[in-house]
Symmetry: C2
Subunit: 266 residues, 2 copies
């Protein structure tokens, strides 16, 4: 039985693919066998990052950890229900295939509520939701009273997660661990961060997710995309570490530790 980790957030650009890539590299470097699915079928940011990594390894003759990847195609049946049945079969087969040989399966979701994404949300043992430090992003988790800053009620993405939880419970699986992390956090703007932070804390109590340490806005999280490298790989690349790099590495380690994943050293 592989432990399934899903990065999900219907809000675009919250950092799902970036988080998926960095968690993959952290797990691989810890000696775990990792499988991967990229459910963002058109953009494929996570798989593109991995293809760049594979190409870099070939070009430089280096060894770089890669996950066992399975590419899923959308069904092109015209009938919506028949298309979903076909996709459900493809999804289950891919999971079964990866579970044979992997300790972990990393699944990156699109910024939309596709059927594949809904299935991944139900299959997740650990669901990771990155969110920008922004009331605009927060609006997809919950509506907030403009005057009191209090949470008024869940909104579209929380409802999606809720539906997935019900499906999961009905399938007799243990509840997922839903973790939310703030991403692209600026080192400034205390007032705005405070507002988002307060609303997050209140919502976490109400709808049952826990908040884990996230990532600051750092160009190192994206500047090596073309080579498929992350800051975790830089030891072998012989780089001199800047202060920002050391801080970034700590952010990734703090996240991985906070995930409490089975089989990982503390």
């Amino acid at each position: 039985m592989a432990h399934i980790i899903v990065t999900g957030n219907e809000k675009g650009g919250s950092g799902k693919s970036t988080t998926a890539m960095h968690i993959f590299v952290a797990l691989a470097r810890a000696g775990m066998r990792v499988g991967a699915l990229d459910l963002d079928l058109r953009q494929r940011t996570f798989f593109r990052y991995l293809e760049n990594r594979e190409a870099f390894a070939r070009r430089t003759g280096q060894q770089l950890a890669l996950p066992r990847r399975i590419a899923l195609a959308a069904s092109d049946l015209r009938d919506r229900i028949a298309a979903q049945e076909e996709e459900e079969a493809r999804f289950s087969e891919a999971i079964a295939e990866l579970e044979r040989e992997c300790d972990f399966i990393m699944i990156d979701c699109p910024g939309s509520d596709s059927f594949y994404s809904q299935m991944a949300h139900a299959a997740a043992d650990t669901l990771i939701t990155p969110i920008n430090d922004s009331l605009v992003d927060f609006d997809l988790l919950a509506r907030v009273d403009p005057e009191s800053g209090r949470v008024l009620g869940p909104s579209i993405y929380s409802e999606m997660v809720w539906k997935a939880r019900q499906l999961r419970a009905r399938a007799g699986l243990r509840p997922a661990d839903w973790v939310v992390l703030r991403n692209r956090v600026s080192t400034l703007h205390a007032r705005n961060k405070h507002k988002v932070g307060e609303a997050m804390a209140e919502l976490s109590r109400r709808i049952g997710f826990r908040i884990v340490p996230g990532f600051s806005e750092r160009v190192i999280f994206r500047e090596m995309f073309l080579n498929g490298l992350t800051l975790l790989d830089l030891k072998e690349q012989g780089f001199t570490f800047s202060l920002s790099h050391v801080a970034a590495r700590q952010e990734v380690r703090d996240l991985v530790r906070a995930l409490n994943l089975p089989g990982l050293e503390k």
Copy 2:
């Protein structure tokens, strides 16, 4: 005939809704009659921003410009082709309705290639594509050679725009003005910005868009979402302007001027 402005980018979180809101307010303050469609049917960030604005106006007794909005629903027909025909009818009716009384129609697209989004891309007189200062975002416009930094070929979003252009040409409409702007630009990280900038310049020549001044990463672009206000509204709100605010306002003005919209003073 209304001039149709569309914010589009399949990449999530590039700044479509933020840009749509600020352009709307700039046009309204210039005395233009503006209509609006929000094609992100689930997230509805743009319409949520406008609903917050309407609520703020009611709460405070203030007058605040609002666009004429039409809400479009997804078709729930099971057959994909029949569903698209239904959506095509709804889209055309909404445009025809708004054209009767508006100088401009502001259409915000989702971060996915929905059928409504495809239609908007063909209907656009001005197509605005915001993009993060990131090779991860750029990957949806074009593939880049990791060693030379040269553009290898168009990718998924460029192809979507291309298809829309062909549809538009076949419908006998004048070519759209495709503008790309960089958003959430940090004041640091010259090397990464240079790489993205070079690739953008090369691609703009190859696939025919022009690059216009964009926005820096500034919390003022998002911190008033709950009240539906933008920095352009702050004059009447009696705020004291910070240096960042003055700079932000100049960024919005520079963008609007660069759009060369009909009927607007230079």
